[in-house]
Amino acid sequence: MLLIPCPWCGPRDEREFRYGGQAHIAYPADPSALGDEAWADYLFMRDNPAGRHAERWFHGSGCRAWCDVERDTVDYTVTGSCTTGAHPAGGPDTGPCTSPYCVRRAVPSTGGTR
């Protein structure tokens, strides 16, 4: 069972959440300019690593907000969670990440598997 630290509510049971797949997929800036390949990539192609994965979870039975979680897909350890989009992949931070479980901070996470 996963114990997922919600940035707003704290560590909560996986049952309270819904999984939302890979994080940081931006809506195309100019959709009408996108070719078929680029649409396929945006709609269907996803990272599927055996290892660290940046992913979205929706805290449906809590604050009803999304968060960005970092989790290992092999041993299922949750490293931390951040406010949505605070650390876009490959880009600079968009603003302060207020999450106490921020993956960029060197604090031990209370998240994990149990």
Binding site: Y19, G21, D36, M45, A50, H53, T73, Y76
Partner: protein
């Protein structure tokens, strides 16, 4: 690729063994990655039907220890779209002759499969699927609640249940077969025809020259090949990642459980997509119950207890007698799910590399069909007609084969 004259038949396996376990040679005509049902069947048909026996099947673990050993063994072909009907019914036809072809008992039992409808929406979708199946020559029937109750007396078909049974689709030719016996049957026959089955040999990358794949890197050294066929199921993305090739796959845990041996109470297979539970009773007497996937990506071959809890809760609602049963053992596999719940089969942008993946929660039933079609694809260097609709390019053209209705949980 051209069929080569058959090599000298190999020395038979040691006494008491079903196959030899040779050291891998430095080069083969064809390498198959993964010794699940799909890889073993592909190797078998390459040798048996195309005279290509210079083949090795490379397996990182032990033979058929992946999803092949973990599935709930349900076989059926009542999928919605023509493309799916084509390949799944091809497989079912091959299943019907497989015990003869492999010369052994596979406990293949055409005991029928019911898919329950619990809502008016389910009913409409189900009746539509029955009609589509019939147009494709597949034995499909719509059963009302009374007929369902006759076939499955332990099912609570009362009007005031949590999941009312409004009817079911029924495919009488569907059923189950023992997955281990199937794997060992293909393995033994492939071995006899000269195929090398190499266990404990993980493929870690590819040998390339430009856009061509020339072989694989493994934990037991490099192996060259004229063609490489990936049958790595849940771990396919890990392999294609080394080529920078992106696939529309997500690997999820999928769980199942068995009870201890019980008196016979169920002589058919019953599935319910809406509440994510499906059940059959194995010949020895254990109830085999499958769940839906765990929502998150996971390669750990384990899932969350909540999924099993939900599955058991639904099962006990539908079959009150199951309240007396105990869960003896639960387990999970890693299944590779595609966005349209249909497989991806065929050539890739890399010459010499073929993929077969995306079978998700329901590829066991396709085992002989996939092997047959993929062997033909590799042998002739072009997609078999039944594989054509399942090419990778459908995600660019938009010609998806959306089987969520037929496949949702489904197995």
């Amino acid at each position: 690729m051209p069929a080569l004259p058959a090599a000298e038949p190999p020395a038979p396996p040691p006494h008491g063994r079903l196959w030899r376990s040779p050291e891998p040679r430095p080069a083969y005509d064809v390498l198959v990655v993964g010794s699940g049902g799909h890889g073993l069947a592909t190797a078998y048909y390459l040798a048996a039907e195309h005279g290509i026996a210079d083949v090795a099947v490379l397996e990182r673990g032990w033979l058929a220890g992946g999803n092949m050993a973990r599935n709930t063994a349900i076989i059926r072909s009542n999928y919605l779209w023509d493309a799916s009907a084509g390949i799944y019914e091809h497989a079912l036809t091959l299943w019907e002759g497989l015990e003869d072809a492999l010369g052994r008992d596979l406990h293949f039992s055409q005991r029928g499969v019911l898919n329950l409808a619990h809502s008016t929406h389910d009913v409409r979708e189900s009746v539509r699927r029955v009609n589509a199946n019939r147009l494709n020559g597949i034995d499909a029937e719509w059963l009302g609640p009374d007929e369902v109750a006759k076939l499955v007396p332990i099912l609570d078909t009362g009007a005031h249940t949590r999941h009312p049974v409004l009817g079911a689709t029924y495919q009488p030719r569907a059923g189950i077969a023992d997955h281990d016996l199937v794997a060992w049957g293909f393995a033994a026959e492939a071995d006899r025809l000269g195929v090398d089955l190499v266990q404990g040999c993980e493929v870690t990358g590819f040998l390339r020259s430009g856009g061509k794949v020339r072989g694989v890197r493994t934990t037991r050294g490099d192996i060259a090949a004229g063609a490489v066929a990936l049958c790595a199921a849940g771990r396919t993305s890990v392999l294609t990642e080394t080529l920078g090739m992106r696939l529309p796959l997500q690997s999820h845990p999928l769980q199942a459980l068995v009870t201890p041996l019980l008196e016979p109470v169920l002589d058919t297979v019953v599935m319910s997509n809406a509440v994510h539970v499906y059940v059959s009773q194995a010949p020895k007497g254990e109830l085999v119950l499958g769940a839906g996937i765990d929502g998150y990506n996971g390669y750990g071959q384990r899932g969350s207890p909540r999924t099993v809890e939900d599955q058991i809760a639904a099962a006990v609602e539908l079959y009150p007698v199951f309240a007396h049963a105990e869960a003896l053992r639960t387990w999970a596999g890693t299944v590779d799910v595609a966005p349209d719940a249909s497989p991806v089969i065929g050539p890739t942008p890399f010459e010499g590399l073929y993929i077969n993946c995306g079978w998700g929660t329901g590829g066991y039933k396709a085992t002989p069909g996939v092997g047959h079609v993929l062997a033909d694809t590799v042998a002739n260097g072009r997609p078999h007609p039944l594989a054509e609709p399942f090419g990778l390019e459908r995600f660019t053209t938009g010609a998806l084969v959306d089987e969520h209705g037929a496949a949702a949980v489904a197995h």
